[in-house]
Amino acid sequence: MTLNILFFAFAAMIVVPLIYLLITKNIIRAAFAFAISLLGMAAIYVLLNAEFMAVVQILIYAGGIVVLLIFGVMLTKRSGDEGVFTAHHQVIPGVLVSLAFFVLLTQSIFDVNLAWGEEVTSTDQVKQIGVLYLTDHLIAFELIAFLLLMALVGAAFLAKKSDQ
């Protein structure tokens, strides 16, 4: 029972900030709302006994991506006062595409047939995840590592002073 209440509370914590994000014209506030909804997601992970996932969610999204977002906004233009104005082009195609996407998502969600599965009993998630990474998902793991390395090298190259 309490679990349900908590679940809906956290679900609201995800949805309400996201709605605010869509409405507001203040980019920083939007980013802030995004961070709150990400935290709500982390909380739901905890409710599902996926603590490691929750931690990763906080670390990468709330701690990393949102900060990066805000940094990007701050370093570019201060538009907090006048808000963001975007022109409305091609309203009809846009509505159609998003509707199609919505239908697709709902369809697939119902197809998956989500249900409460077994309770996760293992308290050794980290070890399991680690082992899985280096056995079943080794290629993905290596690819990610390679991608990150390329990103690092690229960043270093961009940051390097051009001699000219």
């Binding site: 490691f52 701690g63 907090g80 980290v126």
Partner: protein, 352 residues
């Protein structure tokens, strides 16, 4: 519950004593006396300051972004205080038992970056914004060597649960531990300081140094106080704050100091274990270990590291921005990565 019942009062009390101690130590280091007037030896000076601060007007500049401005201190303090949730208090007693405890702690604490950014941005003040940007750049940079040095310990301990990690460093350990990481020297029965991580794996001394430096940077303390450097930025991201909201920022700074000190004690110096080993049949370690002793040892060790941080504050000058960045990226991070590699090798081939 333990977090709120034990750590919150302790944190609040610590801030009072810590500020007093900081001013006293500053005085002694500079051949002064420090506060002397309020109470015997000035011991209630901080209380008086605190009362004064709480009575101050809560200024909200007209041009600030009200929502962000008001939310920022709460986020900062909330993020840091959440970190206390997973700390083990003493033998068998800890706040929240999650197997990714250490990981959780680091990730949650990194959220205070968000609060600092909001404070800087919401204040609508150039100094605050600069302070916030510096702070974020600094914290994000130093999280890497911090995380890597912690990872070294994790590799040695083979767990992310802080309680478990402490248990391994003394006489109650279920796993075998060796002095100086040499397989012949088994010291499970001896315990004491000899079985602390820093002695059972000598390479961790370097990891501890990296951890301590990064911890200083994370808590925005001198010599890494660029975000709030009074001489340049007039206090940085909390320029516009006054009264209790400013107090929350100070509280979270001290909270961060204390958290880093607790972590240092837990990761490297045996947490709630007593430093006294069993000497032959004289079982000193057995006598000085226990639930009550544990609290004393843990808090004592944390206080010692706080003392070190305060001494560092009154010894070293503030770093320049480029020095700050080069220290993190050119020195601490590579050394930490190398250390991770070496400890992995040691763990695989020497110990097991």
């Amino acid at each position: 519950m333990i977090t709120f019942l034990v750590f919150l009062p302790f944190l609040l009390g610590f801030v009072v004593v810590g500020v007093y101690g900081e001013r006293k130590i500053a005085g002694f280091v500079q051949n002064r006396l420090g506060p002397m007037e309020v109470g015997p030896k000035g011991i209630v000076q901080t209380v008086a300051d605190l009362l004064k601060m709480l009575q101050k007007e809560d200024l909200r500049p007209k041009a600030v972004d009200q929502l962000l401005f008001l939310a920022a201190p709460i986020i900062v303090f909330g993020a840091i205080f959440t970190g206390y949730a997973v700390l083990p208090l003493t033998e068998g007693v800890s706040g929240s038992v999650i197997d990714a405890g250490l990981f959780f702690l680091l990730s949650v604490v990194s959220l205070d970056v968000l609060g600092i950014l909001l404070a800087g941005w919401g204040s609508n003040n150039k100094y605050a914004l600069f302070g916030a940007m510096r702070s974020v750049a600094q914290i994000v940079s130093y999280e890497i060597p911090l995380g890597l040095s912690v990872l070294c310990v994790v590799m040695v301990a083979q767990t992310l649960d802080l309680q478990e990690m402490v248990t391994q460093q003394g006489i109650y350990a279920t796993e075998e531990s060796f002095l100086f990481g040499i397989k012949g020297l088994k010291i499970n029965a001896t315990g004491g300081f000899l079985s602390w991580n820093i002695f059972s794996m000598p390479l961790l001394i370097i990891a501890f140094i990296i951890f301590f430096i990064s911890g200083l940077a994370e808590s925005n303390r001198v010599p890494f106080d660029l975000p709030e450097s009074e001489s340049e930025l007039i206090g940085g991201y909390h320029t516009e704050y006054s009264g209790f909201r400013w107090g929350l920022f100070m509280l979270s700074e001290y909270g961060m100091m204390l958290l880093v000190s607790f972590l240092a004690a837990i990761l490297f110096f045996g947490g709630w274990y007593s430093p006294f080993p069993n000497i032959g049949s004289f079982e000193l370690a057995e006598m000085t270990n226990g639930p009550v002793w544990g609290v004393i040892w843990l808090f004592g060790k944390a206080t010692f590291f706080i003392f070190l941080q305060i001494m560092a504050r009154w010894t070293y000058p503030r770093l320049r921005v480029d020095q700050l960045m080069s220290l993190s990226w050119k020195y601490l991070t590579p050394v930490a990565i190398l250390l991770l590699f070496l400890i992995g090798i040691w763990k695989i081939w020497v110990i097991s």
